[in-house]
């Protein structure tokens, strides 16, 4: 093991820090940095942040450095909050093809709104570990769409292997897609009509006289729909086609739903309406394929058009295994017209605003989850140099780095770590 290996150095440094934290109050000043706290409504940058026992005490451009503080010279590098993936199945799946390892959906056609994924989130998931060491510190975990318009409740998680969920029932999820339209009888019109009927008739459906027949929402389903409606829970609907989006905007306004769109491949066509109705959009900015008749209008500058119109946007990678690709998604959105700061916001602060959560930004009084990046965090040639998670520097080791270490010397003709033929 060479001392030139940054990971040996980091490991020793982390061990030293850990020892210090154990024995005395610790002040850390990260200085000479480009720190983006992602504060609400204002675009601001600081060159230093001071932390007391991992809690942010101040931001400054000319800090006073206490005598026994540890100074981390960031050498001009970018520091951002840990990244926030607005829509994932992190913790709910290991291997897509191994159904016993996938807990994000139900095969039961009778369950929709009442499905709640919070009891299945696996803290030991390799997906959590692999993405944490790439700077993703928080996420919302959602059920996958089933056959009903409603998919069920999701939860907000910290990417940690001890009790990741910090807000269960953070939102209700739903979708309009081919399978759901088929279950409703074959027309999206019936999906929309049923939604309107259900919300309008909630009072009757909640009464003891309601006797659900085959195909009707069960009493548990009604309870779930009512809970979401009553508490004005964010309702995240996966939908792409502009005709369906327009219907949902209308419903959101008349029935007063806290609506957020997911996917929204054709959302750019109705950007002004979304802006006027304060409806955010969570999207994959790289989706530009006319892969189905509900998204013939998919284009790479979707997010730029939406943001310019005043729509709140957040990004999500369709593959939770690669939640770490968030930065590449944002960088490409910027390459196609989105301002850089808005790109960073879409993978940090915006999810927090959409779900009313306290992560994805840095503020005084809170434990810091932040990343020091090797260069511009939206660049594909950038990586996390150091990650602080809830006030503690963390190891950047994962299963994948362990595999790398086992085989890295093969190319130099040396035997591998274990004795393999």
């Amino acid at each position: 093991m060479s001392m030139k290996n940054p990971y040996v150095f980091l490991l020793l440094w982390t061990m030293l820090l850990f020892y210090c934290v154990e024995t005395q109050a610790q002040t850390i000043v990260i200085d000479n940095a480009r720190i983006f706290p992602m504060q609400d409504q204002i675009e601001v940058e600081f060159s230093s942040v001071t932390l007391e026992n991992g809690v942010i005490s101040s931001f400054s451009n000319s800090p006073t450095i206490p005598p026994n503080a540890t100074v981390v010279d960031a050498m001009g590098k970018f520091v951002t909050p840990g990244l926030f993936d607005a829509h994932t199945q992190l913790g709910l799946e290991e291997i897509d093809a191994v159904s016993s390892s996938v807990h994000s959906r139900l095969n039961n056609e009778n369950i929709g709104p009442a499905f709640d994924i919070q009891y299945a989130v696996n803290p030991a998931s390799t997906l959590i570990q692999v993405n944490l060491v790439e700077g993703v510190t928080h996420a919302v975990v959602a059920p996958m769409p089933g056959s009903d318009f409603y998919s069920g409740f999701g939860a907000a998680i910290r990417l940690t292997n001890v009790q990741p969920i910090y807000k269960p029932r953070v939102a209700m999820f739903g979708a309009i897609n081919t399978q759901i339209i088929k279950k409703a009888g074959g027309s999206s019109s019936e999906v929309i009509a049923k939604l309107i009927r259900t919300i309008k008739n909630l009072k009757q459906l909640k009464s003891p006289r309601y006797q659900p027949g085959p195909g009707d929402y069960s009493k548990t389903d009604i309870e779930a729909i009512d809970y979401a409606y009553r508490t004005r829970l964010p309702i995240i609907i996966s939908v792409n086609q502009s005709k369906d989006i327009l219907q949902l905007i209308d419903i959101a306004n008349t029935l007063k739903l806290n609506l957020i769109l997911m996917g929204g491949a054709e959302a750019w066509k109705v950007a002004n309406k979304l802006s006027d109705s304060n409806i955010p959009v969570i999207l994959d900015p790289l989706n530009n394929l006319p892969s189905d008749f509900d998204q013939l209008g998919a284009r790479l500058d979707n997010s730029a058009i939406l943001q310019r119109a005043g729509v709140t946007i957040a990004f999500s990678d369709p593959d939770s295994h690669n939640s770490r690709r968030l930065r590449q998604l944002a960088g490409n959105a910027v390459a196609h017209g989105l301002p850089w700061y808005e790109g960073l916001k879409a993978i940090t602060r915006s999810p927090a605003n959409i779900y009313s959560l306290e992560n994805g930004f840095l503020k005084t009084g809170s434990e810091a989850s932040l990343v020091i990046w090797s260069r511009d965090p939206l660049e594909v040639t950038s990586w996390p140099e150091r990650i602080m998670f809830e006030g503690q520097w963390i190891s950047l080791e994962s299963r994948q780095t362990a595999l790398f270490k086992r085989y890295e010397n093969l190319s130099a003709g040396k035997k591998t770590g274990f004795t393999y033929q």
């Binding site: 066509k269 008749f293 040639t381 093969l410 190319s411």
Partner: protein, 461 residues
């Protein structure tokens, strides 16, 4: 013929003979179709001479040249030097820009799994038998797939279209030039060899095991390949046996023709295979039947046998960060491509995705960075080979394209900045020296018939 023809008969015979001779003469001079069935009809479009001036070049051969000029004439690169003077040429200013060979994707299903993705267009897997070596992916290609134009905007000038991986033997793949065409023959890369798509691992055994057929296990997979190669060897022997009379020779058999093509070295084997141990098994099979594996695809575990792959001269086509969708993809690491390259083996970045094909430069950038992060240097001029000259080698077209070198096809991409940046965009894309894509000229952004008239579809902003 009568011994004593009378005058009239003689006259008639003479007329017939003259008429026949005339017909043959006319027929020959029309020069109809010396072209074999299915052969490429692609013709390069010829334009004026071009000189791209003062550009930073990554030449695909491992070199980076600063502020250098490239001249193009009759579709070929004719000179690479500083201060080229050519008064006849159209000058393209390359100051601040980068020039690379056109990007080559060795693993694509554009056209056979097009957009829109519906049953009617789902033509990539003839999953009705484990051995469909008889089918050719080119016969499923829909040239009007909108995805072709999107890939062009990402700098892809050549791509291999393969059957899917449901079968042990999926069928023949085809190498295409990424040009607008009404027919697939108009896209076929002239003279490029065809390939045979093979697949090991989970897919075939899941597809057929699920139907209670063989193969349903990995050992069933291997028995399946070996049985097919045994038949192919027999067929090849009979066909080549000059002692056999014509009527005793075997009938034409499309499956055998493909497999024998591999045994004869004319068709290149491209083998989807994730796991290191399975790749080793496939190498053993190739040794048993004396054929060459040209490339492993989705070679997630190549880093574990990089030494073996270097020794066998087998290319590995890999992703940088896809993992975990199947157990055989669980051990993926981002340094896979870099480690294979460091071991001296042929390393390729492929997409197998109509999404990621648009940004293979970024995929290569991530692979390069993954190595740098671990303290292993990889220069950009090396990383570019993973998406240019190495794929060209795997496709058997390394003498024609994939490099910026005098005499090579002018398949080129002019980037507005370092292509290994997320912000970089392809400004110009040339194929055989013809400008097929210009980011700043909407009239030079080909869209296929499917997208025509759908006014909300723009290829680029």
């Amino acid at each position: 013929m009568p011994i004593n023809p009378n005058e009239k008969d003689v006259q008639q015979n003479n007329t017939q003979t003259i008429f026949s001779l005339l017909t043959i003469f006319v027929f020959l001079s029309m020069d109809i179709e010396a072209r074999e069935p299915y052969e490429s009809t692609y013709q390069p479009r010829i334009t004026n001479n071009l000189v791209i001036k003062n550009v930073t070049i990554l030449d695909g051969k491992g070199a980076k040249l600063l502020r250098t000029d490239v001249s193009i004439s009759a579709g070929e690169i004719t000179k690479i030097a500083k201060n080229i003077v050519d008064d006849q040429a159209k000058i393209i200013d390359g100051v601040g820009k980068w020039l690379t060979p056109g990007i080559i994707d060795v693993h694509s299903h554009l056209g056979v799994y097009p957009s829109p993705s519906i049953n009617a267009t789902s033509d990539g897997n003839e999953s009705t038998s484990p051995n469909t070596a008889r089918v050719w992916a080119e016969h499923s290609v829909w040239p009007q797939d909108p995805q072709f134009g999107l890939a062009l905007a990402g700098g892809v000038t050549t791509l291999q279209i393969l059957p899917g991986s449901a079968n042990l033997f999926g069928g023949r793949g085809v190498t295409l030039k990424n040009v607008p065409s009404r027919t697939v023959q108009g896209m076929k890369f002239p003279g490029a060899p065809q390939s045979l798509k093979m697949a090991c691992g989970e897919n075939p055994k899941r597809v057929y095991g699920g139907k209670s057929k063989s193969p349903s296990t990995r050992m069933g997979n291997v028995a399946g390949y070996r049985a097919a190669w045994i038949k192919a060897k027999e067929y090849q022997e009979k066909f080549n046996n000059s002692d056999l009379k014509e009527e005793d020779k075997p009938d034409r058999d499309l499956t055998m023709e493909t497999l024998v093509g591999v045994l004869n070295g004319e068709i290149l084997v491209h083998n989807h295979c994730y796991r290191a141990d399975e790749m080793a098994n496939m190498i053993e099979i190739a040794r048993e039947f004396d054929y060459k594996i040209t490339a492993f695809h989705h070679a997630v575990e190549s880093y574990k046998i990089a030494d073996l792959l270097a020794e066998q001269d087998i290319c590995s086509a890999m992703w940088v960060d896809w993992w975990g969708f199947k157990l055989e993809a669980f051990d993926a690491i981002q340094q896979n491509i870099g480690l294979v390259d460091k071991a001296g083996a042929c390393a390729i970045v492929h997409s197998d995705s109509s999404r990621d094909i648009q940004r293979l430069n970024q995929e290569a950038a991530k692979a390069m960075s993954a190595m740098l992060r671990m303290g292993k240097t990889v220069a950009p001029e090396k990383a570019i080979t993973w998406i240019t000259s190495n794929p060209a080698k795997a496709l058997g077209i390394a003498e024609r394209t994939g490099r910026i070198e005098v005499g090579y096809a002018a398949d080129l991409v002019l980037w507005n900045s370092n292509p290994f940046s997320v912000y970089s965009r392809a400004d110009l894309v040339l194929i055989d020296g013809y400008l097929y894509y210009d980011r700043n000229d909407p009239s030079k952004q080909p869209i296929t018939d499917f997208s025509l008239g759908q006014t909300h579809r723009k290829l680029s902003q």
